[in-house]
Amino acid sequence: MGEVPEHATEAVAQPRLPMAAEESDARRLVASRSGWRPRAALDLLERPVVLGYLLMLPAAFIIFSFIAYPFAWGVWMSVTNKEVGMPWSRVSFVGLRNYFYLWTKDGVFWNTVWNSFVYTGIATVVKWVLGIWLAVLLNRVVRFQRIIRAAILLPWIIPTVLSTIAFLWIFDPDFSVINWTLRRFYTWMGWGYVKGPLWLADPTLALMSVTFVNIWRGIPFYAIAFLAGLQTIDPDLYEAAAIDGARGWQRFWHVTLPGIKPITVVVIVFSIIVTFSDFQIVYVLTRGGPANSTHLFATYAYQVAMMGARLGLGAAISLFMFPVLALVIIFQVVYLRKDQR
């Protein structure tokens, strides 16, 4: 752990300082600038403000056309009594009534909050720890490097809905390959018959099972991101630490971990946001059951809004975490800006 990867410099595309070729490139640009284009327009484009707004236009267009309206719609829904098919003439503003209902009267909502926090919390921590560990291991790999890295990425590449269906079969109480193996093991050890854990039938186990699938799918993303981070750490730091007498663990703790702090913050924030709104895994495996022990915000909102036709209430569920997550994002943007100065 913590050794210098020999090919780090190749893997990181170091920006090259301008050399003679590029300087003459610039000169050629100047030389080739024809005089027929109106000066005023070009000068305009030199101004940061104008160019800035112009460059932001494509992204802004996409975001404001296709996100702003749905986003505003979602927020507006959550403070109305809108149901599917309800004509706009009958829709009325109800303030925070939906949120109040969820907070006090709904018997499933707090369950959902608990599940979401447990799911996101455990998944994030495990992905983080295992991700770093795997990244450190991958860093040492030389033979078959490409194929191993591609293989490790597979859980993240495969469409979630398809890999989750595979897990449906792996967790099936009667046909589970895990339970079959367990049964054979027990028989071999002479311990008698065991049916095997009820992966999706026991409330706690079910939550753990969906969390497990999320972890399985998410580790590659963490690992590859951390791997990249590891390769930015200056090798001299490791040498200095070794000279000072630091052992493997200490080098990891004092050099590696701090060195990947920026990537850690970014990856974790992104992962938390995406995991809180995770939908497919729970929807395919349990639909929120048994007894609502695996409902997350997204699946419960889907049930309330699509199956139960209460759009206002469903929107309120989806947006419940919004203030908290918004703060997390703002913190991350500010933190990263600070780090640069």
């Binding site: 490139d25 640009l29 800035g52 890999s163 595979a166 079969w169 981070g229």
Partner: protein, 308 residues
């Protein structure tokens, strides 16, 4: 693998080989299982007592053919590749694959374009609203698709000003996917642009190039690894997306791989496990192979973003 000074074989085994081995098994076991299920006969799949790790009918057939040193195509097809043949011949899987690739590539190109331009503005240019815009881009992630798909399908079904309906067409998805691809591409590319020293552009501009020329001729080529990694990320997310594709597309021939496989291979309460698993593998292995060529650039791209 690199040897550390003073690390004996025993320690290497415990600290490196074994954990790596377990990670690989952990990651790939479901894929092995998917593969075995796709070449097993349906009868074996539904048998609770038989060993699930070994496709008996298939391996027996292969062993016999090896023993007789004679290749019997049809028999091999019947015993091993039955599900693959059904998938490729009797479903619209190839069509779905084409649709998915088309939608993913176009969405990626659109998102990269928007991401590159926005990232350059955020990374390089100082003007009012930059920070707000940066925050706004990520706030959009907080409203989940499970809520957004209704108003989004409303928009897509009745495009503003044009009054076209893009529902049931790949273009509907191509319009919808950038909504979640652009923010992340922008973030990634902003970070990467920040690692490129400002001196390069300044040098070019001192020599008389315009900002745009500096951006196109000097910065972009250097940022290529970041662009590649953002593209790979966008491509994966597009190809995996499920909910929008389920709601927007109704014709079987226009479906994408995730939606098509799930809707056509789960008939009522019967799961066509062999075909499902074959579809899952075919929908992911090729992408993984492409990745293996780009993975160094991908890692480098994230590295750059990280340093920024």
């Amino acid at each position: 693998m690199r040897k550390q000074v003073g690390e004996g074989f025993g320690k290497r085994l415990v600290v490196f080989h074994l954990p790596l081995f377990f990670f690989i098994v952990f990651t790939l076991f479901p894929f092995y299982w998917m593969f075995v299920t796709s070449i097993k006969s349906t009868h074996e799949t539904y048998n609770r007592n038989v060993n699930p790790y070994i496709p008996v009918a298939c391996t027996t057939e292969i062993a016999e053919q090896l023993r007789a040193l004679r290749l019997n195509g049809p028999a091999l097809m019947e015993n091993c590749l039955y599900h693959w043949r059904y998938l490729l011949r009797d479903t619209l899987f190839i069509r779905w694959l084409q649709n998915t690739l088309f939608i993913a590539i176009v969405s990626t190109v659109v998102s990269l374009f928007a991401g590159i331009t926005a990232a350059y503005a955020l990374a390089r240019l100082r003007f009012r609203g930059v920070d707000t815009f940066g925050i706004l881009i990520f706030i959009t992630y907080l409203v989940p698709p499970t809520l957004l798909f209704i108003p989004l399908s409303d928009l897509i079904g009745d495009m503003p000003l044009l009054h076209w309906s893009l529902l049931n067409s790949p273009w509907g998805l191509i319009v919808a996917y950038p909504t979640f691809l652009v923010p992340f591409c922008t973030w990634l590319l902003t970070g990467y642009f920040r690692t490129i020293p400002k001196e390069l552009e300044e040098a070019a501009m001192i020599d008389g190039a315009t900002r745009i020329q500096a951006m196109l001729r000097i910065i972009l080529p250097l940022a290529l690894p970041g662009v590649v990694s953002a593209g790979i990320f966008a491509f994966t997310l597009s190809a995996n997306e499920f909910l929008y594709a389920l709601i927007f597309i109704s014709d079987a021939a226009n479906k994408t791989v995730p939606v098509g496989v799930v809707s056509e291979l789960i008939k009522g309460d019967v799961f066509y496990w062999g075909e499902l698993m074959a579809g899952a593998l075919l929908g992911s292995i090729p992408v993984a192979l492409i990745y293996s060529f780009f993975v160094e650039h991908y890692v480098a791209g994230i590295t750059g973003a990280v340093k920024g």
